[in-house]
Symmetry: C2
Subunit: 112 residues, 2 copies
C-alpha cells in the first residue's frame, strides 16, 4: 500500500467513490445530450467527421480525467468542482485537510 | 502520365467523376441517417463509445474505398455497384471494356 493510500479512511473512500461516480454520471449525461444535439444537426460529411473528432477528444479527455487513484484524487475533485460537475458540499465527510486542499485548488483556478 | 491514365478519355472521366461523386453522396447521406438514429438511441457511456467506434470504422472504410485514381477506379466502381451505392447503368458512356470489367467483377461477388 502506498503512503498516499493510508490517508483515506474507509468512510472517506465511500464518500469519495460516490462523489466521483456522481460527477462522472453527470458529465456523461451532459455529453449524451450534446452528442444527440450535434448528431441532429449533422447534414454533410464534414459535420460527420467533426462529430467524430469531437467524440474522440471527449473520450480521450474523460479517460484521462476520471482517474480514481488516491494519490491524485484531490486534484481530480478540484477539477470536477471547478468545471461544475461536483459541488464542494458533496465531499463533506472527508477530512478537513482534504477539503481545504480541494477548495484551495479550485479557488486558484488551476488549469488541470 | 501513367499508362493507366491514357485509357480514360475526357468524356469518360466526366462520367466517372459524376458517378463517383453520386455514390459518395448517397453513402454519406445513408451514414448521416444512421448516425442520427444511433445518436438518438444513445443512453449511457458504453453507447457513446460504441457510436465513436462506429464512426471511426466508417471513416476509415470510406477514406480507403473512395479512391479516385484511374488505376483502381474499375475496382472502386465494382465495389460500389456490389454494395448498392451505384447502378451499372450510371456508368454508361464508359468504354465497353471498362463496363464489362466492372460488371464481371460485380457478378463475381469479389470481396474488396
Amino acid at each position: 500500500m502506498q503512503a498516499t493510500d493510508i490517508q483515506w479512511s474507509k468512510a472517506e473512500k465511500e464518500i469519495a467513490r460516490a462523489a466521483f461516480e456522481r460527477a462522472y454520471e453527470r458529465e456523461i449525461q451532459a455529453l449524451v445530450k450534446e452528442v444527440r444535439e450535434r448528431a441532429h444537426r449533422v447534414g454533410e460529411v464534414d459535420d460527420l467527421w467533426t462529430l467524430h473528432d469531437f467524440l474522440s477528444a471527449r473520450r480521450h479527455a474523460l479517460e484521462g480525467k476520471y482517474d480514481y487513484r488516491y494519490s491524485v484524487l484531490i486534484f481530480v475533485f478540484a477539477q470536477l468542482v471547478q468545471e461544475g460537475w461536483l459541488e464542494l458540499h458533496e465531499l463533506e465527510g472527508l477530512a478537513t485537510d482534504k477539503l481545504t486542499k480541494v477548495s484551495a485548488l479550485t479557488r486558484m483556478g488551476c488549469h488541470f
